[in-house]
Structures are given as structure tokens and as C-alpha cells.
């Protein structure tokens, strides 16, 4: 993103062919669901990673699988921000919009700053298509877009021209036009074509004519940039100074899946996933279903209740057991999670949060399941809750979830969200030897075995793999006598067990790192965040600090229990603001727990925070500290 409010793309009036250097650029590719925008964006991202920029991406696709063509509901977008310095978000507002049709233009116009570049497929701006989305048919020439730098490119005509003489049908040819846009963007931002060419060869290994056609169009797009007067200026974004190492792209969902495979290997156990498809969590199920070679068994259950219940059965069998879902599915799992708490079995529940309540906004992001994760069960049912900060962080947090679950014999809730689940970032691939040892010590000794005998430090009960000779025992949802594990209705035992279950979770606080803090440990404003807002909050904090404000940012990966430095931090700032994509759920937890008058910075639009809106709000708070900050 550009830290400046004006367009980073320089003065449109420069003459002659020149290359200008930029620090960051955000491009949004937008078109019909069928236009291949996700693919175009992903290719641009891969090439950009290879040339050494730091980056972050945000796909934004419609909830309907195939909304009517050319409508606003059918617009699919992919935004990538890349730069020569650290990139924490996909960018507030795109500097460049590629719009494949009037709907894509209309849907995204409101997000553009004056001076932004717009590349439109002028072939698609016929009267009918414009009418469909209430744009005047003259929109490209009537001054509506005067605030922007508009490049009208005949994507369709140029594509067909490049494929003259090819045997493809017109329809097939037209489907290549996204590669024209991609080629042109490669020219404008000085990226090489090789990576995408290689990818096309692989992807269409069995259909060489398709590979050839797309390559031709890609090159045509690039060459169009080279030869056309309008593109006298092109831009380069020098590589970022990134720590040396081997990198790959990961989305949050892929990182989550790999994190669990890794955790099971580190635990020397097999991984079981019970899941029921739900957006935006399904990709974790898809990923893990591929990893049979790692001994992973995935079970697509008949509903979320069966999904979590099967995982509990697998945990009883002594396996690393997980279940993945989103908000509505978590609501169904509540009773069974209580069973895992009662039977003190290790289990990880992943909730990839989306807009709620009910079906809500299935493809949009939100952080509104925090209180459900904390409290959404009958009885006193405490459990650890942790949250991943970025796509790559999902890998580490999956491992952390398994570590806590197996060490303390408890279910653990791992929260991610649609934004980091689908967003991607470069990830420095860790050395396997550097990952923690999670070896599980199953109870096999028969002598003196009691199913609720506790480790005096962790309060964990022994984990027995079902099938172990001599340790046959019964567990269940009825209250158990501490120690022996037999059913008990004794009043004192029940109170004791409730307190033990709470204490067990509380003790984890001593076994987790301090919350990450950006900035000083005292000052005027402390922004507190959790989960996928990390990037935006961190970048906003950096900006505010550069302007001289005494603002710090504390990010919570562990939410229950909270890390040891939280209280001290909350009490060392004049104003504390919990910034989250809900109406104040972390705020509620902090106030309740620490009796600090935490303010809220809240947004609940299905969209991530923009850095600018955080900065604006915090600056307002700095001016009049007493005001409630509610976005």
C-alpha cells in the first residue's frame, strides 16, 4: 500500500518511455465469475513472489456459484498488494483496477482513490451490459471517470486477433482474454512471463493447443503494452529485503492443513479429521483428504455433530483428532465439545469464521464467533481458545493447538477467519528439525491405573489408546469421581471437578509466550487485536508511530487463557482500544477479566479493516480521548 494519500503511480503526464520505481502497488482484478479472475490474480501473485516482492492477497468471490453473467452479484475479484518493503495487508484501496466488464467497474469504483489506474475491457461496454448495472452506455467517454486514469483496451478483439488462425472456437478464444490482461499487467509492472508460461505448459500438458493459445495471448498482452503509446511509462517495484531462505505461497487454509499433518507427525501419531463441508472451511477438508500417505484419515460426516463426534471417537482411540468448520457448524458442535471437556480428551476444533448470524455472509470475513468459542456450551465448560494472525501463522497455530490439547488433555478451539483462510502470503518454509517435539506418552502401565488420575503440574489425566491390554475403562458425559473416574453424583466431587476443569485451562497461561507488542510498553493508546486483523492493525500502528503518536499494538494469539503480559499492558496506557470485526467481543472479555475500561473500534461489514480507517479513528481518539470509538 502507499503510505501517501495521493496515487503512488506518479504523474500521468510524463512523456517518453520510462520506468518509474514504486514502493508498493495494489492491483485488483475484477470480472465475471467465469472470467478467470482468481486464476489471473494467483498467477500475478506467483510471479511477483518470484521476483522478490513481499505481498498479501485477498480473493473476493460471490456467494452464488454462478450468478447471472454481467451482474453485480456475479463479480469476482482478486486483490494483491506487493512492494519492496514489508506488506501486511492486500491494501486498502487498489491503485490499479482491471475491469473485465461494466459490472466489475461499477462494483469497484467506490474503492478507488482519484488518480487510480483503470484498465477496462472496452469491448464489453455495449449499451446492454452497461444498462444491466445502471451505468450510462457512454460511461467510458462522458467524463464520469475523469478522476481516474482510464485505459480502454479491447481485450476481446485483441485476444481474437492474437488467435487468428487457431482452431479454437470463438468461445474458447474469448476465454483466454484474462491472459491478455495478465500480460499487460506484467508489462506495466515489469514482471517476466516465464513463470506463467511454464505453469500453462504444465496445466495443459494434455491439451498443448490450449497452452499455446494462452501463451500467445499472454505475450500479445505484454507486447500491446510495449508498442502502445498510452503505456509510455511502466513501473518497477524493487524486491523487498526478505530474510534469505526457501519460500512458498500459502493460504491460511493450506497452512492450517499442513500444520495439522506436521503436528501429528511430531506427535508420532495418526491424524483424523471429521468434517462437514462449509464455506470458508472446506478447503482444509480438501487439502487433508489428499494426504493419505501421511496416514491421515478424513471422514466427511453427515453433519457437524457427527464430524466432531467421530473426532472424539478417534481421540478415544489415541489419535490426533480434529474437526473443522465455520460458525453455523460450531453452533451444532457445542454439546459434543462439552463431552470432550467432560471426558478430558484432546481434540482441536477449527472455526474459520464468516459473517453471521445464521447463514449470514458465507463468503465474507468476520470475527464474531469469539464468544461462541469461549462460552457456546452448556454447563461450566472452559476450553483454551487461540487464534491465527496471518495465513502463514495458521501453520504454527495448528501445531500450538495440538500441543496444548495433548499436553493438557483438553479440546482446543483454533479460530481463523475467511480473510486469512483464503488470503495468501509468502511463507518461509520452516526446517522440520526446528519444529517442536510433540511426542505423546500414552499410558500403557496397568499397575495403579485410574482413568482420572492427574499429572500434578498440568492436571492432565492419562491418555490411553483404546485397545491397550489391561487398561479397559469406561468414560462418558456423566460426572466422574476425580481419580477413579467412576460415575459420581457426589456434590463435593462435582464442585471439585468443575474447579479442576477451570484450573487446568488457567494453568496453561504459564506455558504460553507473552502477547506480541509493537511499540512501547506504555503510552497514550494501546490497540488490542486478535486473529486476522493483525496485518492491518500492525501497519496502522507503524503509521501512527511514524507520525509521532504514542500508540502501541498488542496482538493476542492466545485468548483463553490470556498471556501473562496482558494485564500490565492494559494498565499502562491512557486509552485501550480493542479493534475487531464484530461489535466488541474481545472488548467484553478484557473488561470482564481486567476491569479496564476498554473502548471498541469495531467494523462488521464482511470486509477486513482498512489501514486508513484505523488511523483516522485512532487519531480522533488521540484528540478527544473520552469519545467512544465505533466505526
Amino acid at each position: 500500500m502507499s503510505t501517501d494519500t495521493s496515487s503512488p503511480l506518479g504523474d500521468p503526464g510524463s512523456n517518453g518511455r520510462s520506468v518509474e520505481s514504486l514502493e508498493t502497488v495494489a492491483i485488483r482484478f475484477a470480472g465475471d465469475s467465469g472470467d478467470g479472475m482468481q486464476l489471473t490474480g494467483t498467477q500475478f501473485t506467483s510471479t511477483t513472489a518470484i521476483v522478490g516482492n513481499d505481498l498479501a492477497t485477498l480473493p473476493d468471490y460471490p456467494a452464488e456459484i454462478r450468478a447471472p453473467a454481467g451482474t453485480l452479484a456475479g463479480v469476482s475479484g482478486f486483490q494483491v498488494q506487493f512492494g519492496s518493503s514489508d506488506i501486511y495487508t492486500p491494501g486498502d484501496r487498489p491503485d490499479v483496477l482491471v475491469a473485465m466488464n461494466p459490472a466489475a467497474l461499477k462494483a469497484n469504483l467506490k474503492d478507488l482513490e482519484p488518480g487510480a489506474m483503470i484498465f477496462v475491457n472496452s469491448d464489453a461496454f455495449d449499451a446492454r451490459s452497461c444498462e444491466k448495472v445502471d451505468l450510462p452506455p457512454t460511461v467510458l467517454g462522458d467524463g464520469t471517470l475523469d478522476a481516474f486514469r482510464v485505459f480502454e483496451v479491447q481485450f476481446t478483439t485483441l485476444t481474437r486477433g492474437a488467435l487468428e488462425g487457431s482452431d479454437l472456437t470463438t468461445r474458447e478464444k474469448d476465454r483466454c482474454k484474462n491472459f491478455l490482461a495478465l500480460g499487460l499487467m506484467y508489462y506495466c509492472f515489469s514482471r517476466p512471463l516465464e513463470h506463467t508460461e511454464k505453469w500453462l505448459d504444465q496445466k495443459f500438458a494434455k491439451k498443448p493447443d490450449m497452452a499455446e493459445a494462452n501463451k500467445l495471448v499472454l505475450r500479445a498482452g505484454f507486447n500491446y503494452g510495449v508498442t502502445t503509446e498510452a503505456f509510455a511509462v511502466s513501473y518497477k517495484v524493487p524486491p523487498a529485503s526478505i530474510a534469505p531462505g526457501v519460500y512458498r505461497q500459502v493460504t491460511g487454509n493450506t497452512a492450517t492443513a499442513m500444520g495439522f499433518v506436521a503436528a501429528a507427525q511430531l506427535a508420532k501419531s495418526d491424524l483424523f479429521l471429521g468434517s462437514y463441508p462449509i464455506t470458508p472451511a472446506s478447503d482444509i477438508l480438501h487439502e487433508l483428504s489428499k494426504y493419505k500417505r501421511f496416514g491421515v484419515r478424513t471422514f466427511q460426516a453427515e453433519d457437524e455433530i457427527a464430524a466432531v463426534a467421530s473426532a472424539i471417537g478417534a481421540a478415544f482411540g489415541g489419535n490426533i483428532a480434529i474437526t473443522t468448520t465455520s460458525g453455523p457448524g460450531l453452533a451444532l458442535k457445542g454439546e459434543a465439545i462439552g463431552l470432550a471437556i467432560m471426558t478430558e480428551l484432546p481434540l482441536v476444533i477449527v472455526d474459520v469464521q464468516r459473517g453471521g448470524p445464521s447463514t449470514g455472509l458465507p463468503t465474507k470475513t468476520e470475527q464474531s464467533d469469539l464468544l461462541q468459542a469461549m462460552y457456546g456450551r452448556n454447563g461450566e465448560a472452559p476450553m483454551p481458545v487461540i487464534a491465527a494472525a496471518t495465513p502463514a501463522d495458521c501453520f504454527d497455530m495448528a501445531i500450538e493447538a495440538v500441543r496444548i490439547a495433548t499436553k493438557y488433555m483438553t479440546p482446543v478451539m483454533l479460530l481463523t477467519d475467511g480473510y486469512i483462510a483464503n488470503g495468501a502470503e509468502p511463507w518461509k518454509v520452516p526446517d522440520v528439525a526446528s519444529l517442536p517435539d510433540l511426542t505423546v506418552h500414552f499410558r500403557t502401565e496397568v499397575e495403579g491405573f485410574q482413568s482420572y488420575d492427574r499429572n500434578p503440574v498440568t492436571l492432565a489425566r492419562p491418555w490411553v489408546r483404546a485397545g491397550t491390554p489391561g487398561l479397559e475403562h469406561r468414560i462418558g458425559g456423566l460426572e466422574k469421581a476425580d481419580g477413579s473416574g467412576t460415575v459420581s453424583y457426589d456434590p463435593d466431587n462435582h464442585e471439585h471437578m468443575n474447579r479442576i476443569r477451570a484450573e487446568k485451562v488457567a494453568r496453561i497461561a504459564a506455558d504460553i509466550p507473552d502477547a506480541e507488542v509493537i511499540g512501547d510498553d506504555h503510552g497514550d493508546v494501546l490497540i488490542v487485536g486478535w486473529g486476522g486483523t493483525y496485518g492491518a492493525l500492525r501497519a496502522a500502528t507503524a503509521l501512527l508511530r511514524r507520525k509521532g503518536h504514542k500508540v502501541s499494538f498488542m496482538h493476542l494469539r492466545h485468548i483463553n487463557p490470556m498471556p501473562g503480559n496482558v494485564e500490565r499492558m492494559l494498565k499502562s496506557f491512557r486509552t485501550v482500544i480493542a479493534a475487531e470485526l464484530n461489535l466488541g467481543q474481545l472488548r467484553h472479555l478484557l473488561r470482564e477479566r481486567y476491569l479496564v475500561d476498554v473502548k471498541g473500534l469495531n467494523k462488521i461489514q464482511g470486509q477486513p479493516f482498512k489501514i486508513s480507517e484505523i488511523v483516522k479513528k485512532i487519531e480522533a481518539v488521540l484528540e478527544t480521548p473520552s469519545q467512544e470509538a465505533v466505526l
Binding site: 519460500y247 493419505k292 484419515r297 453427515e302 457427527a306 464430524a307 467421530s310 469406561r474 458425559g477
Partner: protein, 341 residues
């Protein structure tokens, strides 16, 4: 990870090896006692060591069962036992996993899990104790209670059409579908033994008397003097005879019909086939006293590969084909690039 049906060195176990310290807490005269006795008699004969058994239940009087069996046991939550058992069985295909459920637990709240376990053919031995009432919650009508039944929650008579558990099981692609009664002890033991040896999902309905809330529901089938005319014990390859062999069942216009053997001759009587057509099994399962004799025994027994077997075979094949997965390779896959020092 191959499934063990008979251990190589059969372990010598007795009935008392399967008893637990827990005091059995069903009401005096409850049919559940007789069922428990048959289980404790059966398990030592199956040639498996004790640790290879798991007994998993939901919630209900019947679902207290695991506490009384000295095996791995799990008293889960209402209706979800088949799902918990599925997770265990997938990861431990070598274990023999039993699911104990009730008419409410299995057909009301847990109906979804029951039908899916059956269609997947996961190798679970599912036993549904049907007392046609909610016992544990003290006597509301259940999904198997007869139409018009008056209970605390249906003082004017229930207007619910009941499920027939075997119809549900057959419709859900159950490969092993059987019925037994608590009072027919020897027969019950034989049916459970057959279920234990079936590879795949085995569904057994047991008519179980609840003397407290639904006493005598099955009296016509279990009382001397009535049962002879009201029950037909079906056996593979044998004609469908009852009432001391004097009466039998034939099919006419696709419908069962009671005939006197003397009149039609034994050759005309329908011979039971466990691998017969589903329509026949359905017709047989749906005969009920007093219009027809109620069938007890194995209605259907047709094996097909089990879910757990196939899931684990996929894992084995992948490992054999490509080698055991290596974490380093997994992390270092996809689109990679190197940033130099």
C-alpha cells in the same frame, strides 16, 4: 491394520471377565438385564482379547450398558454413538465396536447418524433396544410407539406414525438386519453371535420390555400361549413356518399370506433367504402380530466391503505406491522460490 475376526491364539475368557464393579441400576424386571446377560455370555466366545472390544452408547436407560461391560466403553451423548464409534473404528479397524442405542436415541435424535452408519457400511454392531417408549425421561412416547398411544406427553393419544426400525435399516442399505426379543434368550444370543461375525454394519433390533413405563408391550410375542401364533422364527434356507409348524407364509400378489401347511403342502411355503430381494425382506420385516406373525431372526445378511476397510486400504495403497509421506517434502511442495542471502 488388518481386521481380526478370530484371534490366532484364542484367549480363554469367561463371563465374569466382562463384568464390571459398577452396580447395575436398571429397574427390577427391566428387559435390559437379559440383554446384558447375553452379551456377557457371548463376548468370551468370540476369541478376541478383552481390550479389542469397545462398547459405545448414547443416552437412555439402554445406553447405561457400557458401564456394565468390562471392555473399552464410551457413554457419549444423546443419539451420537454411531458417529463416535465411526471415528474409533476408522482408526482401529482391528477392534470390534458395538453400538448400544434405544428407540429414542437411535431413531429420534440420532436417526441421521444411524442411517448414515448403515449406508456407509461401517463395521459396527448396532443394537437398538426397542421398548417403544422414552424410559430414562420417564415415559414419553417415542418414534416407535404405536399410533394413538397415551403417555404423559400425549394424553389424548399420539398422532405420530411410528417408524419400523427394520424398514429404516433396510431402506438405509443395511447389510445385516435382524430382530430378537429380550425374553427369547437363546435366540437372542444366536442373533448377536451372527452380528458379531458379520463384516460390515450389523443392525439388530431387540424388543425390550420396560415394566415401568410400557409394560407388556411385547407380551403377545413373548407370553406362552400367545407367542406360538404371533411369532415366526426365520432361518436361512428353511420354510417360513410357525404355530408349531402347522402354519406358514406364502407370497401371493407380492403380499405375504398365512396358510395352513396341511392344505397347501410344505413345498408351497416360502423358503427364507437372507440374501433374497430387498422387497421380500421388507415385506417380512413388516409383518406384525396380530394380523401376521412377527418375524424374529436374521432378515437380511448380505456382505459388501466395509467403509473402514476401504478407507484404510486407500491409505495403504497410497503408502505402497508413493512411500510414507515425508514432512519435509510436504512443506517444500507447490510453487517455491529462493531468496538469496
Amino acid at each position: 491394520m488388518t481386521a481380526v475376526t478370530v484371534a490366532p491364539n484364542p484367549v480363554k475368557l469367561t463371563r465374569s471377565d466382562f463384568k464390571t464393579e459398577q452396580e447395575v441400576r436398571w429397574c427390577p424386571g427391566c428387559g435390559d438385564y437379559a440383554i446384558l446377560a447375553q452379551f456377557q455370555k457371548l463376548f468370551p466366545t468370540l476369541g478376541l482379547p478383552r481390550e479389542q472390544f469397545a462398547v459405545i452408547s448414547g443416552i437412555g436407560c439402554s445406553s447405561r450398558f457400557p458401564y456394565y461391560m468390562n471392555t473399552y466403553g464410551f457413554h457419549t451423548i444423546h443419539g451420537r454413538a454411531p458417529a463416535v464409534a465411526t471415528g474409533l473404528k476408522i482408526m482401529h479397524p482391528e477392534m470390534q465396536v458395538w453400538v448400544i442405542t434405544g428407540d429414542g436415541d437411535g431413531l429420534s435424535i440420532g436417526g441421521n447418524h444411524l442411517i448414515h452408519a448403515l449406508r456407509r457400511n461401517i463395521d459396527l454392531k448396532i443394537v437398538l433396544f426397542n421398548n417403544q417408549i422414552y424410559g430414562l425421561t420417564k415415559g414419553q412416547y417415542s418414534p416407535t410407539s404405536e399410533f394413538g398411544k397415551r403417555t404423559k406427553s400425549s394424553p389424548f393419544g399420539s398422532v405420530d406414525t411410528p417408524f419400523q426400525p427394520l424398514s429404516v435399516a433396510l431402506g438405509a442399505e443395511g447389510g445385516f438386519v435382524a430382530r430378537a426379543a429380550d425374553r427369547e434368550q437363546k435366540h437372542l444370543g444366536e442373533v448377536l453371535d451372527a452380528a458379531a461375525h458379520f463384516k460390515g454394519a450389523a443392525f439388530t433390533e431387540i424388543y425390550q420390555n420396560c415394566p415401568i413405563f410400557n409394560d407388556g408391550a411385547f407380551a403377545p410375542l413373548t407370553e406362552k400361549g400367545q407367542k406360538e401364533a404371533n411369532v415366526i422364527f426365520v432361518e436361512h434356507g428353511k420354510p417360513l413356518l410357525f404355530n408349531g409348524g402347522t402354519q406358514g407364509i406364502i407370497f401371493e400378489d407380492f403380499r405375504p399370506k398365512i396358510v395352513n401347511v396341511e392344505e397347501v403342502g410344505i413345498d408351497k411355503i416360502c423358503v427364507h433367504r437372507e440374501d433374497g430381494p430387498l422387497g421380500y425382506h421388507l415385506a417380512l420385516a413388516r409383518m406384525h402380530a396380530p394380523e401376521f406373525p412377527t418375524a424374529l431372526g436374521i432378515i437380511r445378511r448380505v456382505e459388501r466391503p466395509s467403509y473402514d476397510e476401504m478407507v484404510n486400504a486407500q491409505v495403504q495403497t497410497e503408502i505402497e505406491k508413493k512411500g510414507r509421506g515425508d514432512l519435509h517434502d510436504l512443506l517444500n511442495s507447490g510453487h517455491m522460490w529462493t531468496v538469496g542471502a
